[in-house]
Symmetry: C2
Subunit: 352 residues, 2 copies
């Protein structure tokens, strides 16, 4: 648990309301449709003929994050970003968030200030207003619950169920980095725990560790698609892994798919780290999750508009459902896609 200063103030020195006031004092309302933020029974938003989208995520210590290697400021940033990513995946603009936290007494006010610094950075960077939340003691681990609210014109919204046969499957950025970043953090943390004086060397893994600790939501991709006048036919963010999230699009759109192994974007640093740790790089992309890239389908007639756009890669196409949901390997074999991504209930695949 890092804090930005050496001061140490017990949370119990503040009442709930004093604490919330202290933590949120630097936050400003930046959107005119936010009529009332913190300070009443509820926030008030004026949607002005837009549709509203609402999404929520619960992050639990030990399950979704480990404070041994997660700076609180990064955690606050990420907790907001993962929700904004869901709003962008609807092709909507995030505008408000609520953040509730539960913390045990081991946390000091300064720790919470670091957490809220990260929340504030994310709010400022993405232009969203913090409009509410709850702050509570916790007898167990840290709990963070974020709800994000966004808006869009009705005709702009993109659901998971709009893809058709022949639509091209595209993905932004690269995949597997966040997962490999986590593996590196866990390895270095283990060595640190076991060896007095061990200094983790993360410099070689800066990109992938950053992907894990401080992911960004792809607002830039949404803006780019708007500029190019491309409305995806279906979209989802890659939080559970390419395989699992693509299966969601297929399931909701009632289609099959073919993707090509050699088209799946994997960064060189991800691939090196994977090889170093004897993990198949492809597996990190298919099943790793937490990349928060956008996975979407576009009509073939829109593909010309994506010429020369390096941030977006076509990786395959939708088929009829009866043709199955498969990846074509580099050797030319077809393998069924399987949902083996993040599942906090089933097999926990090393993300804890």
């Amino acid at each position: 648990m890092q804090s930005t200063s050496n001061k140490s103030t017990d949370i119990s020195e503040f009442g709930e309301f004093g604490l919330i006031a202290r933590l949120t004092e630097g936050f400003r309302i930046s959107n005119t449709e936010t009529k009332k933020g913190i300070g009443d029974d509820a926030a008030v938003i004026s949607p002005r003929n837009r549709q509203m989208v609402v999404t929520t995520d619960l992050l639990l210590e030990g399950v979704h994050f480990n404070l041994m290697y997660t700076p609180l400021k990064h955690l606050g940033y990420k907790a907001v970003v993962v929700n904004l990513s869901d709003v962008y995946a609807m092709n909507a603009e995030p505008r408000q968030v609520t953040v509730s936290i539960g913390v045990s007494e081991k946390f000091k006010v300064e720790h919470l200030e670091s957490l809220y610094e990260g929340i504030k950075l994310a709010c400022e960077h993405y232009g969203v207003d913090l409009v509410g939340g709850d702050t509570s003691a916790s007898y167990t681990g840290m709990v963070i619950s974020v709800t994000a609210i966004g808006r869009a014109a009705r005709e702009e919204l993109v659901y998971r169920n709009g893809a058709s046969e022949h639509d091209v499957i595209c993905v932004s950025g690269d995949l597997g980095g966040a997962y490999m970043g986590l593996q590196i953090l866990k390895r270095e943390n283990k060595l640190f725990q076991e060896n007095a004086g061990f200094q983790p060397d993360l410099a070689r893994y800066e990109y992938i560790v950053g992907r894990q600790l401080k992911p960004e939501a792809r607002r830039d991709i949404i803006q780019l698609l708007k500029e190019k006048r491309i409305r995806p036919t279906s979209m989802i963010d890659v939080s559970d892994g390419l395989s699992s999230d693509l299966l969601h699009l297929c399931h909701n759109s009632d289609t099959g798919c073919r993707i090509y192994q050699d088209k799946i974007p994997i960064d060189q640093e991800t691939a090196s780290a994977a090889e170093e740790m004897q993990i198949e790089p492809l597996v990190t992309a298919l099943n790793g999750g937490e990349d928060y890239e956008l996975l979407f389908t576009v009509s073939t007639k829109d593909m010309d508009k994506l010429t020369g756009v390096s941030q977006i890669r076509p990786i395959g196409f939708m088929t009829r459902k009866t043709e199955g949901r498969r990846m074509v390997t580099n050797a030319g074999a077809e393998v069924d896609l399987q949902a083996q991504g993040w599942n906090a209930f089933g097999k926990i695949n090393g993300k804890g």
Copy 2:
């Protein structure tokens, strides 16, 4: 932990999505403005020229509820209701909720079904749609995070800051019951733990135990005020205790107040239980909290309209700020109101 059946199914038998599907299969969308509920990256709501209100609450095992004496079905019901209460306190209509839960492996699917049965009952009773949420493993206690969304015409919304000098302070129902219900539950639970074969006798305390375990949000009061064409000048729900919540209205409205001890509504069962446990009944009303009654102010010109309305009691009036925030006791003394209600961070006054 009670369950409605004797079956015992491990949560790990379901993936996250299978589990959510199972838990939410009986839920129906009842509001036409809910365009998309569960099943995409975010829910979609069409507000139709109304203002939207958003409120959120985090409930943690051991802090906000104790599963030793809280049936899961009641817990699910209450988790929704406490959020709806905040929406009503804005003079708005709740329409949607999201519910996220974190549970450890000791819970079986049947336990979660009981919890969701309560959530469903609350949704049906209050006409709100479950539109999203998150289900996660927890390595520690149970976590429930609810966000409620409501709507109102702009001119209908009632904030905490609208009260003026001379406005009459009113409260619905009666106060202190939920707190005394909790004291009884804790006493009986302690006896049960200490004495083999002890059978808790809660029949004598049915009303107050019900106030604690299965509170209702006062939709009826909001409807009544609408019918009578009374728009409160300020309003809050009594979640922290009369004293603390009235101080919020005064603080936000920049007023003082006088309330009268003999006007504060306390049910006979609350008073008897308090005396039995050597607690001053007045203290339960002032500082107990969790009653989820509505505390509001109305202009004196509207008071005629409340003649004969037994569910709403005038308990005092707003004054200039310089006159202080005080209660006039039965003996005629004036005492300062103090915020001593529920505070999960400061002094925990027996609510854990």
